[in-house]
Amino acid sequence: MIWLEIPKSLKPLADMAQQVGANVFRPISRKYDAAEHAYPKELDALASLMNGMNAAGSGAGAGAAAGAKDKKAKKERDPNEIINGANLATILGVEQLCWGDVGLMLSIPGQGLGNAAIAAVATPEQLERFGDKWAAMAITEPSAGSDSAAIQTTARLDGDEWVINGEKIFVTAGERADAVVVWATLDRNLGRAAIKSFVVEKGTPGMELIRLDKKMGIRASDTAVLSFSDCRIPKENILGSPEIDTKKGFAGVMQTFDNTRPMVAAMAIGVGRAALEHTRTLLAKEGIEVRYDQGVKSGSAIEAELRRMEAELEAARLLTLKAAWMADNRRPNSVEASMSKAKAGRTGTEIALRCVELCGAAGYSEDDLLEKWARDAKILDIFEGTQQIQLLIIARRLLGLTSAQLR
């Protein structure tokens, strides 16, 4: 039954996330933007609150770890029954939290992107061991970003242990997390099929924090450079199968993205909505209000611009909800996940930048958060697959082309 509204059952969760965004994040938003790399200790109290939110969402979580909890429940479900589950709940929670502050959202203990990776492919034993840990994600290397098949970090089986060697950059929450999910290749000659992900717990000898990067935005979130020299982890820490299946190729590790891309899309929607709502509030004081009961060509130029941005944002939001809904109902959603990320990434950035312009010098000044949101938004069109990578994925699928044909 086609219905594109937020279900009542998930509203308490979204409301609670909005409260956190408004009352926990916003008041300290500027503080941790200025004090880059300082640990936002105010967030420690949030870890337990997030668990409360998970309970409020009828078993569905607001953060990245939510998928894990849903997985247990999946077994007994009627395959034809439509559900609104953990993926949708996550989208709603993430959007609201990022409406508060995306940098701080990325710093909530226990809600790392690595958790989504674990949730997507972990065995029950691994869920038991890692399910409650804060897990960061380490994919990018100094010479391999979008081309993640070209990573150089290696994993070699030595008895009962994997031995990891290499360097990882752009690791969100890399300093603060309890564990890092590391992409490494079992054999550089076997291409993408040989790339696997491994859970490396904090404090494992051989894993070292090199430095934290200084950034334009999401400065509350620590972005680490990690090195691995003969870093030994238990054999059981590999996520997914250790077999190198050249037919299946990248599918194993890439599967994670089907869950995390809509999440990043939700982040962009949160930031974009924050900017748009705030801009509307500021402009309302100047007597500019948005009305829908008039011709689409009527009203001032600024008003028309506000409506246009709202339409774009709404479209991005619905595409994201759709991708999450498909994941909840176990329908393949790679294309939809990429569409949501592409649309939301560019829309969030465009809206945040445009809102600064519409509000003029007030929007550009650090007296207001608009300029911060415009700095924060840009990364959301980059990490978890840039705009261009999403377009490649969508185009290859639509056109039926391989990565060798459409490069």
Partner: protein, 459 residues
Amino acid sequence: MNYIQQHDGDRFAGVDRESEVNVLNQAMGISLRLLTKVAGSPLIERYGLNEPLNRLLRQGTEVGFEAASKAATAFKKVVKQDKPARVPTASDKPKLFDLTPTEEQEMMKETFERLAEELILPAIEKADENCEAPDEVLNAIHEMGLVSLTIPAELGGDSETRSPLTNLIALEALAKGDLGMALAAAAPLSVAAALVDFGTADQQGKYLPGLAGEEFVPAAIALIEPHPGFDPYQLRTRAHRKGSSFVLEGRKSFVPLAARAQLFLVAADVPGAGPRLFLVESGTPGLEVRNSPSMGARAAELGEIKLNSVEIDESALLGGDAGADYNLFIARGRTAISALAVGQSQAVLDYVIPYANEREAFGEPISHRQAVAFTIADIAIEVESMRVLMLRAGARTEYGEDIVREAHLAYLLAAQKSMQIGSHGVQLLGGHGFVKDHPVERFYRNLRAVGIADGGLYL
């Protein structure tokens, strides 16, 4: 659950029914009624349209068969009724976010996509050239129940529950063939749907049996006006009260089937009262029509009507004193135009994909180039963006939620993106896109219409 009892008894009181049962019965009922109507039609076998119908029928033949004979007797010319027949929309508001169409919606989509491909496409070149929608195409679409499924049985139709969303899905499917032809096909439906929702008992009794009849009856909403910057909330067409009459003065453009419509639903401003809708029959003194061949949407037979002191009885005011909900009228028009935009934009996407894979340049298919591939990916993203906004507004309509905001946003996005998509479609084919060997130049011209039609349909 006994289907017969539900059908003959309290048909619309099913608030506490299992919604699944409800949907299945609705779909089955509709397929039965459709089949009864069209069983003799050569279209059915020629185009294999019996497949989607039969599939639904197989699901519950033993409980559903009686409805067919009942529906078949439901054609009369004039119907007297004491009070207006309102067809209820769906009653149980869904509890979950969901994008699963009902069986009925899937059937409609499949049927009308087939019609678009098998009937509209072969006829479109001539129709576009001559600004003429062939009767056999309009009649075929009509035969498939596009209008009658919205009109209640007591007034000659086949409708038990009114589903604006299903109509939107059907319209999107038709527009994959041609936006203009779909606009023409949906024009009488729009007048009928407005009569069902707002008409008085007499207005319904007078017009709906005719519109529901076996032949396609041309009728259209006349909303748009020819001046630049048209705003449906600031109509220049006026209706002045004069005793027990109204006198209409003004001009309307972008009216589908204008030259041959037998009935117009004219939007005019009543000074002091605001916008109202009037039923104006062709042949009314002072009413002039002319063809207005346009850049695109030519198969819609667009035209203008001129109202020179057209005096009509106050009984022609849609809905009588209570009037019609004008906000809803405009919002639903915007949603419907969005559905046209989605269908025609999808046609662009469906055409450029194989083209880009087959056309070679610099020694390989042009689809291997990012400049081409990314444009196609963008088209796909925006078609889907338009579609989810349209569906959201449509679903809210279905369950009586306010849609003024949602329809505005859906239409706004549709107007902007569909124009870009039309332009991309031609660009991707280069010079070949500019010549009439390929349909993309028609899509380009048609899609420019989306931004012009700020309302003008009603599903």
